[in-house]
Amino acid sequence: MPSMTLMLLVMTLAALFCRMAGYVAMRFLPPSARLDAALKATPLAVMAGITAQALAAGALVESLALGAAVALSLWTRNDVGAAVAAMALAAGLRWAGL
């Protein structure tokens, strides 16, 4: 793996690019429905990919915890709270021996 300093530099530049590029591009680019749709869809697809891989790699505890994260988020509309509760559920299930 590269050094932590180099990794941090690359991540910083990538994060800076994302924060600045759209703002700067607006001076030159006309609005595009396709670009707008792609940018809106990308975070959802990434989150689905992360969740799917965790489910595929996990077992019952992971499935129950991630299912709870989705259900609680939909029910309470508090995604952060739902995620914390899901982690607590996983901890509880593991403590119970599952």
Binding site: P2, V10, C18, Y23, A38, P43, A48, Q53, A54, M87
Partner: protein, 233 residues
């Protein structure tokens, strides 16, 4: 002529940021726990939170580091894919923020995140004219994010087994919960399905890091191809 950029506007934004900061602190705590689990020192974890300031991107990057798959290319691609939405955020806020002048606008963009972008767009729609509102929302969130990171990474370093606390599920739990909150229509299920399928198709062969990249690229590509030209939803 530049728009107002005053202490009063900053304070109005900061009040909104403070209301959001408890949740951001908890999210930062989770990041700190995962960072400790990945073997990062408190200083590196804090440096990452200062310079990247994006929970989803930082957690995804950590997953690469934990899996031993972190290269400069995979890290850059992961942060770019995870933060691609910021391109839209920056574009959408440009007409309002550009009236603050370039230095103030670019400084404000450094602190932009999901929650305070939404809050600022809402405030602008309601007629908020003071462009210091955005940076006002950002300062408490940065403080909460850094505080959460620090507490999480110090606490995480003494945990005997992070799995016992469910900390290994921080990233997927946050991803699942945020995904559920963001799906507000049947059409939004398309990128979810495409992203999951792409990750499951690529991940087992190329590793989970590239599974995430594949999910983002495939979801974005399908959305772009199926968008109705000329119609911005």
């Amino acid at each position: 002529m530049t728009a107002p950029f005053s202490a009063a506007g900053f304070r109005r934004g900061a009040r909104v940021g403070l209301a959001l900061s408890a949740a951001i602190f908890i999210y930062g705590l989770a990041f700190g726990l995962v960072a400790a689990q990945a073997g990062l020192s408190w200083a590196w974890a804090l440096a990452m939170s200062v310079t990247v300031f994006s929970g989803s991107a930082q957690l995804a990057a950590l997953s690469l580091i934990q899996a031993g798959e972190a290269t400069l290319m995979t890290l850059a691609a992961t942060v770019l894919v995870m933060n691609a939405r910021y391109l839209l955020f920056g574009a959408a806020i440009q007409p309002w923020l550009s009236q603050a002048g370039p230095l103030r606008a670019f400084s404000s963009l450094l602190l932009i995140g999901d929650a305070n972008w939404i809050a600022t767009m809402r405030a602008a729609e309601k007629g908020e004219a003071d462009r210091a509102f955005l940076i006002g929302t950002g300062v408490p969130l940065v403080g909460a994010w850094l505080g959460g990171t620090l507490v999480g990474v110090i606490f995480g370093a003494v945990l005997p087994d992070p799995r016992a606390f469910g900390a290994d599920l921080a990233l997927p739990a946050f991803a699942a919960a945020m995904m559920a909150a963001m799906v507000r229509s049947r059409a939004a299920l398309v990128p979810v399905a495409v992203g999951a399928a792409a990750a499951l198709a690529v991940g087992p062969f190329a590793g989970p890091g590239w599974g995430i990249v594949a999910a983002g690229l495939a979801g974005g590509a399908v959305a772009a191809l199926t968008a109705r030209p000329g119609v911005i939803r």
